[in-house]
């Protein structure tokens, strides 16, 4: 250390923030590359990243089915698993919204847990929000030659205010241009279990959505929520579309060499 430095860093400043990555069950099971991409990006943003092995699901399926008791039990597991970290980062707006917005509501009648839920909520961020705050936006994140369109997933957009963050980050990708689609804030029709409980309606909504995607004149669709992306990728594939679908973290981390979501291996 330069002894002439008038403001020597304090202990806490000299240590990288301890960030826990909550990969979400969908990423864990369906698309681990999103988890690895998030890991890489968080480290690049200067975080010391841990992946607590006790993580499972945020409890959204139970919560949105009206099964409050089980949702609370799952939430307690998440709180216990993650509360020791400085930050928790989630590569999903809806799982992030679950922890940030809904956990505190869920324990409104249970003061002890409500305090812990609030504390966790205050330290939890959706991935693109965390990255937009912590990455050096003047340094290119990766290179991607071509255009893309970005879907605003509903929970991220409306529960967490995720709108400019992904676009700010995509602007740091060398060679990438963004073609906004029509009705970009319209729901894709996923809605978690809604997609299987109301298949016809969900199918009709995603049909409209993918029509807008295809009209955006790009062959790359990005988003921040794997559920929505699987829904749109599945529909695009069924329509015989050429559009490839990736999670934004994969593009930012330069991990687009493998098959896109729903794409056959070579």
């Amino acid at each position: 250390m330069n002894m002439s430095d008038p403001t020597p860093p304090t202990g806490s400043q000299s240590e990288a923030p301890r960030v826990a990555l909550f990969v979400t069950c969908l990423v864990d099971l369906m698309r681990p590359s999103v988890g690895f991409a998030a890991l890489r990006l968080l480290e690049r943003a200067g975080a010391k990243v841990a992946v607590p092995p006790g993580q499972t699901c945020c409890g959204q399926p139970a919560y949105n089915s009206g099964d409050l008791e089980d949702a609370r039990a799952i939430a307690k597991n998440v709180i216990e698993t993650f509360e020791a970290f400085d930050h928790v980062v989630v590569p999903s707006g809806s799982c992030g919204g679950m922890i940030i917005k809904h956990y505190p509501e869920m324990f409104a009648d249970d003061v002890a847990w409500a305090v812990r839920a609030e504390a966790l909520a205050a330290r939890t961020q959706e991935l693109t929000t965390y990255l937009a705050d912590h990455l050096d936006l003047n340094v290119p994140t990766s290179t991607f030659d071509g255009s893309a369109t970005y879907h605003d997933s509903c929970a991220g957009l409306r529960e967490l205010g995720v709108k400019s963050q992904p676009r700010t980050l995509l602007a740091t990708v060398d060679g990438l241009t963004l073609n906004e689609m029509d009705d970009v804030e319209a729901c894709c029709g996923f809605g978690g279990l809604f997609s299987t409980k109301y298949p016809d309606i969900s199918g009709a909504i995603v049909d409209k959505k993918t029509t807008n995607v295809e009209a955006a004149e790009t062959n790359l669709l990005l988003g921040g929520d794997l559920g929505c992306l699987m829904n749109m990728a599945g529909k695009l594939r069924r329509r015989g579309s050429e559009v490839r679908v990736f999670h934004i973290a994969e593009v930012l981390a330069g991990m687009t060499d493998g098959p896109a979501i729903g794409e056959d291996s070579a």
């Binding site: 990969v23 069950c25 990423v27 864990d28 099971l29 698309r31 681990p32 690895f36 890991l39 890489r40 992946v51 092995p53 993580q55 499972t56 699901c57 399926p61 139970a62 949105n64 089915s65 009206g66 099964d67 409050l68 089980d70 039990a73 597991n77 509903c154 957009l157 409306r158 529960e159 319209a186 729901c187 029709g189 996923f190 809605g191 978690g192 809604f194 299987t196 409980k197 109301y198 298949p199 016809d200 309606i201 969900s202 199918g203 009709a204 995603v206 049909d207 409209k208 699987m230 829904n231 990728a233 599945g234 529909k235 594939r237 069924r238 493998g258 098959p259 979501i261 729903g262 291996s265």
Partner: protein, 474 residues
């Protein structure tokens, strides 16, 4: 009896709408390029729009906190202005009160302004059953009355119909007119309806309207219309009955004004509807026209229960229809699929209350929780949360049941046990990956038939993240 609900078959009802390509095209045009654009334009002309929403939310919350006191004040003012106030506990009582007033007036025909409350209490059937002819005068309501349908939208009752269907309906019903007349254009249809209804207005014995709100300060009730039908309904016959529900009271004329700055703007993008009418009691002794008798019917129909429940916030609703106009589900199912009087997000909160959650459990489930309804609500009702509250009640009563419930419970069992979750799901994912092979998605998979019915299901990449990370992969 109120309208018989068909909410249980919501998905079958929706299927019919989805298969109707004419309806789908019309919905796309009238909703996205219509209502949504109009609202944006209306908002853009009033920079204070967001602040007005906050003020309106606060106003309605204040009213709900003081509801009984405001209702009593309103009642006293109506009486001072020569009107009568009737309190109806439920739909039966409201129908009986209104029928009695009509019978005492020896009414043969009554004209009606558009009123969702009279749809809620199924008033027309009741009057007709007692030999009194109810005539809907709002053009949309008139059309669906001729077709014996429920409204498909709370502010545009005939939104689901094409002009060809309207023409057909007019030819079937206006049989005294030349059967070969040309009804191919909308203006001709309007002209015909105007002429038909003009006669009805002039002949009516009683006029029945709703009230979008009513004012405690002065005993005034308010209707907003674009056509002027509500005004002819209430100013021509000797008796005027206004029906409203108890939560629609506001303290003062200025408070009503606050809501009126939001209502039309949010609903249709208009600065104001063409006619905002403030009526107070009966005609005054030296007035040249207006009703000699004025009756205000205040309907509870379970709203006092909602006030004490986790659904209280829905009582802020001013029935603008914005949540309906922005709901992705309504946007493809249209209104009749919902199976009762109120469609869309507001309907999915209200209907279970009126017809029971066992009948209506499909409705609160029919939401992606995209949150657009809450985003556009002028009084900031947390509609997704209210829908979720219904899902809690539904779950307690066994909805969903069967395999859906079993599947959820199995998932919950894994989610609560991290070690088991990791072991079991890593085996499961391995199997799924082997089934997929090099294919990136399934066209069909046992247990995922709902999903794969309309789209492919992307296959897992292979290995779980936690396993691969645990093995040192980065």
């Amino acid at each position: 009896m109120t309208h018989k609900p068909t909410c249980r078959t919501f998905q079958e009802n929706a299927r019919k709408a989805l298969d109707d390509t004419r309806l789908q095209a019309q919905m796309a045009r009238t909703i996205k390029d219509g209502f949504q654009q109009k609202r944006l334009k209306g908002m853009s002309r009033l920079p204070e729009y967001e602040a007005l929403r906050d003020a309106a939310r606060d106003l309605k919350n204040h009213v709900l906190d003081h509801l009984d006191a405001y209702l009593l004040r309103f009642e006293a003012e109506v009486v001072k202005a020569g009107g009568q106030v009737h309190w109806a506990r439920d739909a039966d009582e409201a129908r009986a009160i209104i029928l009695k007033i009509c019978q005492e007036a020896n009414a043969k025909t009554v004209t009606k302004g558009k009123s969702m409350i009279t749809e809620e209490i199924a008033l027309n059937d009741h009057l007709a059953a007692h030999g009194i002819e109810p005539v809907e005068t709002d053009l949309g309501e008139y059309i669906i009355q001729l077709r014996h349908e429920l409204p498909s939208h709370i502010i545009a009752p005939a939104l689901h119909l094409s002009k060809e269907q309207v023409a057909e309906t007019f030819k079937e019903n206006h049989t005294h007119l030349n059967a070969d007349r040309d009804l191919s254009e909308a203006p001709t249809l309007l002209k015909e309806a105007r002429a038909e209804l003009r006669e009805k207005f002039l002949a009516a014995d009683v006029g029945i309207t709703g009230a979008n709100m009513f004012i405690a300060e002065t005993g005034t009730a308010v209707i907003v219309t674009n056509e002027g039908n509500g005004d002819l309904t209430q100013s021509l016959p000797p008796v005027h009955i206004a029906v409203s529900s108890i939560e629609k009271v506001v303290p003062t004329l200025d408070d009503a004004t606050l809501l009126l700055r939001l209502l039309a703007r949010t609903a249709t993008g208009q600065e104001q509807t063409v006619y905002n009418t403030f009526f107070t009691g009966a005609k005054r002794p030296d007035d040249p026209d207006g009703p000699q008798d004025f009756h205000m019917v205040l309907l509870d129909n379970g709203r006092s229960e909602l006030l004490a429940s986790e659904f209280r916030d829905i009582l802020r609703c001013i029935r603008c229809g914005a949540c309906i106009n922005h709901c992705p589900v309504y946007g493809v199912t249209s209104g009749h699929a919902y199976g009762w009087v109120y469609p869309g997000p507001v309907g999915s909160v209200l209907t279970p209350h009126f017809v029971g959650i066992d009948e209506a459990h499909q409705l609160p489930g029919a939401s992606t929780f995209c949150g657009r309804c809450e985003e556009v609500c002028p009084v900031r009702i947390p509609l997704p949360q209210l829908l979720r509250n219904w899902r809690v009640r539904a779950f307690q009563r066994g909805h969903p049941g069967g395999l859906q419930r079993l599947g959820l419970k199995i998932w919950v069992m894994f989610a609560k046990r991290p070690a088991l979750y990791r072991r079991a799901l890593s085996v499961g994912i391995g199997v799924l990956k082997r089934i997929a092979g090099k294919r990136g998605a399934y066209r069909w998979l046992p247990g995922a038939g709902g999903w794969t019915k309309t789209r492919d299901l992307p296959a897992p990449q292979g290995g779980t993240f936690l396993d691969r990370y645990g093995r040192g992969e980065r």
